[in-house]
């Protein structure tokens, strides 16, 4: 069945350092979404990418969707302690359908 792999599983950075998490799907995706889950919280939507090669930015966050629509990345520039949490990618095979989540990358930021 369809799988979405995400690496790394954990990332520990010093405040101010950059952070990147990578997501790879075993099948071509219709769309990919990114969510952030704070410790003890629930997933909160960050963004959706639908076009091949798409790049979107939200302040210090940059999201990319691969040309083949099978991989994606999230890059955070100059991390802050408020960035702490687990970042999940979630791939969809059709719009509005089920999402297959990656295992997540847990980010910790040392002040």
């Amino acid at each position: 069945g369809q799988q979405v792999m995400q690496i790394p599983q954990y990332q520990h950075v010093q405040e101010g350092e950059d952070f990147t998490t990578y997501c790879n799907s075993s099948t071509t995706l219709s769309n990919i979404q990114w969510y952030k889950q704070r410790p003890g919280g629930h997933p909160v939507f960050l963004i959706q990418l639908v076009k091949s090669g798409e790049v979107k930015k939200q302040k210090r966050l940059t999201f990319q969707f691969g040309e083949a629509k099978k991989n994606s990345s999230l890059h955070i520039t100059a991390t802050q302690t408020t960035d702490v949490g687990t970042y999940f990618c979630a791939g969809g095979r059709n719009q509005g359908g089920k999402l297959i989540f990656g295992q997540g990358t847990e980010l910790s930021v040392k002040p």
């Binding site: 979630a90 509005g96 089920k98 989540f101």
Partner: protein, 113 residues
């Protein structure tokens, strides 16, 4: 405007028992999905309900069943509980036709002893 609300927030059951979890979607939303999130893992899709019918189902056994009511609220039922069913159960809603953001509730944390 209330977001997605779930109840109960925590519950403890023993093996073999049955559990019902409840979800009220965000105002204006009519499509509800349920996800299971084991500790340290990403959410796994259980099923999706729209117009009171199960529209999509993930790779979960028949012990997992659901229902959607005319007011769009939903229930998740799990029968014959196993230790491995211990997890955070998340409800997510959206409006049919909206293809983007899923709004998640805080979840129901189920512990099976």
């Amino acid at each position: 405007d209330a977001g997605v609300t779930q109840s109960p927030t925590h519950l403890i059951k023993t093996r073999g028992q049955q559990v019902t979890l409840r979800c009220s979607p965000k105002s204006g939303h009519d499509t509800v999905s349920w996800y299971q999130q084991a500790l340290g893992q990403g959410p796994q899709f259980i099923f999706q309900y729209y117009e009171e019918e199960e529209r999509q189902r993930g790779n979960f056994p028949d012990r997992f069943s659901g229902h959607q009511f005319p007011n769009y609220s939903s229930e998740l039922n799990v029968n014959a509980l196993l230790l491995g069913d211990s997890a955070l159960y998340l409800c997510a809603s959206r409006r049919q036709g909206d293809t983007g953001e899923l709004f998640f509730g805080e979840g129901s944390r189920l512990t099976v002893l």
